[in-house]
């Protein structure tokens, strides 16, 4: 039984058809990876699920239709979202960024500061002055503060140094033990390490759904769907 199902998702922005019929099933446990080449529509799919772009189709979360809900109601159903550009408020302090995300009466600051002790030390610092990796920590921390039933992370390792990529991957793997994660990712080594299932988009459509490990083990399929040989997978996840 899937936690989140997407059927025939279509998105038109400024007259351009970005998505034409995306299908996606996010498993109720573990990490589901959303893959595809640049421009395939991964970020738009995630934004459409969040209600951040106009969309048609059917999006079901935990049995309930959420297609027409405004973004804040989607989030309140229990979906935490770390966007592609991290969505950190640069002029606000780290503490304010976290406080803004509080929804539960008892936000899980213990967990967050255990995972990211750095954020505790820097909690008065304006988020705009943080490094890229630290900003990503803020973005992920915001999704873990509340008892979410799904976490969506859009390219959390993009532009990060290999060492930080490993840290972020560890956090995601640990989070996935208690909350299912939908992970948009280009780093295939990382996907192989932590993802169970995957969906591959191409030109705004779903080209493949299945087991992530099986897909990445099949060099022909990986090349055809993702345009890369798996042995070319960027380092980072491999570096450990």
């Amino acid at each position: 039984m899937s936690l989140l199902t997407v059927r025939d998702l279509r998105v038109v922005i400024d007259g351009l058809h970005i998505l034409h019929g995306v299908e996606l099933d996010v498993a109720a446990t573990g990490v589901t990876a959303l893959l595809g080449r640049n421009g395939a529509g991964k970020t738009t799919t995630v934004k459409a699920v969040m209600g951040l772009v106009p969309r048609t189709g059917a999006i079901t979360f935990d049995g309930a239709d959420i297609t027409g809900l405004p973004t804040h109601r989607v989030v309140r159903r229990g979906i935490g979202y770390a966007p592609e550009d991290r969505g950190v408020f640069a002029h606000l302090s780290v503490a304010e960024n976290l406080r803004l995300a509080e929804r539960d009466p008892n936000p899980a600051y213990d967990l967050v500061f255990e995972l990211f002790p750095e954020l505790k030390q820097r909690h008065r610092q304006p988020a705009g002055t943080l490094s890229g990796g630290q900003q990503q920590m803020v973005a992920i921390a915001r999704t873990l503060l509340n008892g979410n039933r799904l976490v969506i992370a859009d390219e959390p390792t993009k532009g990060l140094a290999p060492k930080i990529v490993t840290e972020v991957a560890d956090v995601l793997a640990r989070a996935a033990a208690s909350v299912p994660v939908l992970l948009v990712e280009q780093n295939l080594a990382l996907v192989r390490r932590i993802a169970g299932r995957c969906a591959v988009l191409a030109d705004g459509r779903t080209a493949h759904q299945g087991d992530a490990g099986a897909l990445l083990a099949d060099a022909d399929a990986a090349r055809r769907l993702l345009g890369v040989g798996t042995h070319h997978a960027t380092p980072g996840g491999d570096s450990r």
């Binding site: 400024d14 772009v53 106009p54 969309r55 048609t56 027409g68 809900l69 405004p70 973004t71």
Partner: protein, 356 residues
């Protein structure tokens, strides 16, 4: 409607408008006198002039996506510069009109090059500020040039005899008609040129134009300057029609009126701004007459107060059009057709909140 009729109706309408001064057709309710009477011609000429001005303004708003709040400045520049060239430089009408229009062009080029350094709504604010400066300058009457609140009349000795006097209203009417045709032609020609396609691209998505390796700034400045020049020429026609220059032409209300006309008729469409300009001008005059009529004076205050204020009625009408008629009157036939077509309803699109 048959195909030839559909194709040729603008020409037929133009012929009918050209012949209007020879007609004694009474249009009760629409006009006070018969069609060819000086009073009616004067009102229709104003309607045509504002139809042209709105069309020229839409070159910015509807074709390039630039929301300028300072268009009245270029209109008033053409108006005042032409008038002052005749009064103080002793020029005849034609050289004065060329001078006045050129002043608008130069001013639009100069101020446009500054205003367009900011994008989006910042641009709107800056154009508004410049126009406000112009309005203040005109009102404060520097050196006794602009005549302050009173404005200044056009000097009869510099005007051709054929344009002076109530018996020559038809000639003024034809000038207004010619201005409208000129504006429509310029807007049609420029928007269907390669430059016009870049304008359309800027309106849709400026960044995509940049990705194509084009610099939007130059194209926007061109649109701003062409539109300003057309407004300046409109100022010359206004000077002839009303026989003088008054500071109301420079005020921010004048720009807002153009905005209302364009939105009312339908921004970005070929005939919408014209339609809006004609309707607005006609309605403003008729509402003005209504406000001063005995019928309204006898009404209870709840009805009399709003009815005595044309701007209140037009402002309210404008809000109603924005809400109920997105796309303006020009889109109305299509909307009605879509409404009649059964079950052609678009799939429900959930709109993002906060985005945009």
């Amino acid at each position: 409607m048959t195909a030839p009729l559909k194709r040729w109706w603008p020409l037929a309408l133009l012929l009918a408008l050209t012949a209007a001064p020879y007609s004694a057709l009474p249009l009760p309710g629409l006009l006070d006198g018969p069609l060819g009477s000086p009073g009616s011609l004067q009102l229709i000429a104003l309607c045509l002039l504002y139809g042209g001005l709105a069309t020229g303004y839409d070159l910015l708003l509807g074709r390039t996506g630039l929301l300028s709040f300072g268009h009245a400045l270029y209109f008033a520049t053409g108006l005042y510069a032409t008038d002052l060239a005749m009064l103080d430089l002793d020029l005849d009408l034609v050289p004065a009109a060329v001078f006045g229009t050129a002043c608008s062009t130069v001013l639009a080029l100069a101020l446009g090059s500054v205003s367009l350094r900011v994008t989006g709504i910042g641009f709107s604010m800056v154009t508004l500020a410049f126009a406000q400066a112009g309005a203040i300058l005109v009102q404060r009457n520097p050196g006794g040039r602009t005549g302050g609140e009173e404005g200044r009349s056009a000097p009869a000795q510099h005007l051709p005899d054929a344009l002076v006097g109530i018996q020559n209203t038809a000639n003024l009417y034809w000038i207004a008609l010619a201005y409208l045709v000129l504006t429509l032609a310029v807007v049609h020609w420029t928007t269907s040129s390669p430059t016009g396609r870049v304008w359309a691209g800027i309106r849709e998505n400026e960044r995509r134009v940049e990705v194509l390796g084009l610099r939007p700034y130059g194209f926007k400045l061109l649109a701003f300057t062409v539109s300003g020049t057309l407004a300046g020429a409109g100022g010359v026609v206004h000077l002839l029609l009303t026989g003088g220059a008054t500071p109301q032409a420079a005020g921010s209300d004048a720009t807002l009126a153009l905005l209302v006309m364009v939105v009312l008729g339908g921004s970005g469409t070929r005939w919408g701004p014209l339609l809006g300009g004609v309707l607005y001008t006609w309605a403003a005059h008729r509402l003005g007459d209504l406000a001063n009529s005995a019928t309204v004076a006898d009404l209870p205050p709840v009805l009399r107060v709003p009815l005595s204020q044309p701007l209140f009625l037009l402002g309210t009408l404008f809000v109603a059009v924005v809400y109920l008629l997105p796309g303006g009157l020009a889109k109305l036939p299509a909307r009605l057709r879509a409404g009649r077509a059964p079950a052609a309803a678009a799939p429900a699109t959930a709109l993002p909140e906060g985005a945009a």
